[in-house]
Symmetry: C2
Subunit: 376 residues, 2 copies
């Protein structure tokens, strides 16, 4: 995997780059749709590629490990063969999902013991096992096993948590070196910067990960309950320390405004369930603001879902029809809204890239963040 | 609307015809996907038309009347404009759904009083109001308001029920004559033959409807609990009485085998929720038999969903992946299975037509009904 930085915008840290993987090229900044169980919810993969323009998708290690399980994934020949997506895939480490289980998991130096949310069965994730699992999944980009420190953690907890993440990172790196890709394409491991909302810890975390040679670096533990100001401040602490010639991935973020603000601060890669999850609930993101399609005002609005939209769903369906489908709990409503939102997110990062390359990013961003935050 | 009978197969009553509507031509025999609330569940309309090959879809008057309601449909300019489907549409009369409400509806000479399954609100359907509603929906083919006699009705009940259906038919026809299409395209009314499983009643019902000049005739009240032998016997009673030069629509039927047997007995049009409803539960219909994709045996079957299938989903996804999606309750699983089944049903009637025109229907059908009934 190699990353080429094409341009950094004037008056901003926003970057345009190219990330080459064995499954194809990714133009950054990029948004990565989340395919939790190997499928982006409600979206056929041909639409994902051809209509939405996704360049890389995510899989969740925790979910895939539990179902269908590693035996099936390995016999399929990895996740690419299993789900048929032939572009790049990134997997998380399972850490975030395991920590979200709350009382159903227990942390120790060794790793995280947890109970399946499906059948209550007991499992153990360790830095080593999580690398082995991601080898079997065959992700182009694998994530290190970390503790996702809660947004409200006090300094002492955050510090101890970061130290655990750092020891686990070293075990992940060792396991990477001891193992090999299974399916003939190369796999990269991204370390994750934690440290909650404490600049001192974030700085130390960023310095620590740069001691590990890697193809890219991630910023984790943000958008987990802290304020947006804290989130942006942490990105500003971390990014100047990370190597300039490697991609930076802000995990699990966020709204369209969050994404533009993070691009402005030098982030290259994003993922979030918001476009699909909020879409299923009837929230549409557009370049003019946010639409809650359940609102009565759309009931007789026979204009297209999004006249400016790039996807076929934007032109083929009306707001009134989409509202009807969402209110009536029709599956097609969730499909259309998810599809629109993903196409919008992909348009947003593509347009951001265009503006960066045209050296117009900063003023474009300032205009956009006002419009994007409006409620229509 | 006009129907042209192209050919009747040798040694069978199977017919190939062409039905012209203001929204396009339908080649019979035809299967009509059901779009209960104006959308075929889980299927984008472009896929329905371009990939699945649907030529006409159904809307349910009961559902559309309750939600989004006639005000919205009328302001949209009818259902074609509201849902964007520009091909022919058939609507049922709401009778079947109302009678399915059981204790929540009450029948009288005037019509059917019922409570909404959504909010318990009280409504009245009469033969006249149901015609008015279907005028507003703007269906190319409207159905008469009838009582769908239960499959286990005794002779006396079935006889009285049929007489009510006949009186209601006359009121529907009167209301048709008093009203006009609202959107510039013509609308036809199909009378419905009831009579439960009593040949005497079915014969009388068939003779009665033929006294009404109509563009087509429907056979209702079958596949509602009676045996398959009774269903086929009733079709054999009714079809020889119906005009040879008008299409015959068997309502709500059925399995692929039911459809071929009914085509063999001279039926031209079909609708059923089975391909989508059973698809959502993991049942796939193929030309070699029925697959329950939840079965453990498919967990590691990495062959395409249906190697003989005509749809993109058949070739783009494997059985193992589809099983995983259905077991994990992923929306995409329901989409793939529904899509496959609809494409299969449309293939089945298209192939039946080809065999009729090639005068090979009877022997092809005999082979197919054995294969279709197998469990894989």
């Amino acid at each position: 995997m190699d990353f080429t930085l094409k341009h950094t915008a004037t008056g901003s840290k926003a970057r345009a780059g190219t990330l080459n993987t064995d499954h194809g090229r990714i133009e950054t900044p990029i948004f990565m749709p989340v395919g939790t169980a190997g499928s982006v919810k409600g979206i056929h993969k041909k639409d994902l590629k051809e209509d939405i323009g996704a360049q890389i998708i995510l899989g969740n290690t925790y979910h895939l490990y539990l179902r269908p399980g590693m035996d099936i994934i390995e016999r399929a020949g990895g996740l690419h063969k299993f789900n048929g997506w032939d572009g790049p895939i990134l997997t998380d480490s399972g850490g975030y999902q395991v920590f979200s289980l709350g009382a159903m998991r227990k942390l120790s130096e060794e790793g995280a013991k947890f109970q399946s949310h499906i059948d209550g069965s007991r499992h153990l994730f360790t830095p080593e096992s999580v690398i082995d699992i991601q080898r079997i999944i065959g992700a182009d980009i694998m994530m290190a096993f970390d503790e996702c420190t809660p947004g409200d953690a006090d300094f002492d907890y955050a510090k101890k948590s970061l130290q655990l993440t750092q020891r686990w990172l070293e075990r992940c790196v060792n396991q990477m070196q001891k193992t090999k890709p299974l399916y003939g394409h190369s796999q990269s491991l991204f370390p994750i910067v934690q440290g909650a909302v404490y600049p001192e810890l974030r700085e130390q975390a960023a310095r620590h990960v740069t001691t590990i040679p890697a193809d890219g670096y991630a910023i984790g533990g943000l958008s987990v309950g802290e304020s947006e100001a804290d989130m942006y401040a942490m990105i500003e602490v971390v990014n100047p320390i990370l190597p300039i010639d490697k991609p930076r991935y802000l995990m699990g973020v966020g709204t369209p405004v969050n994404i533009l603000e993070a691009i402005d601060r030098g982030v290259d890669m994003f993922d979030c369930v918001m476009p699909t999850r909020n879409g299923r609930n009837g929230m549409l993101f557009t370049r003019n603001g946010v639409i809650n399609i359940r609102n009565k005002k759309w009931a007789d609005d026979f204009s297209p879902v999004d006249p400016d939209g790039t996807s076929f769903v934007d032109q083929n369906y009306t707001k009134a029809f989409l509202r009807h489908l969402i209110v009536a709990n029709e599956m097609l409503g969730a499909q259309i809204a998810s599809h629109h939102n993903l196409a919008f997110y992909l348009w947003l990062v593509k347009e951001a890239r265009r503006q960066i390359l045209a050296d117009n990013f900063k003023s474009w961003k300032e205009e956009m963040v006002v419009k994007l935050a409006q409620r229509l």
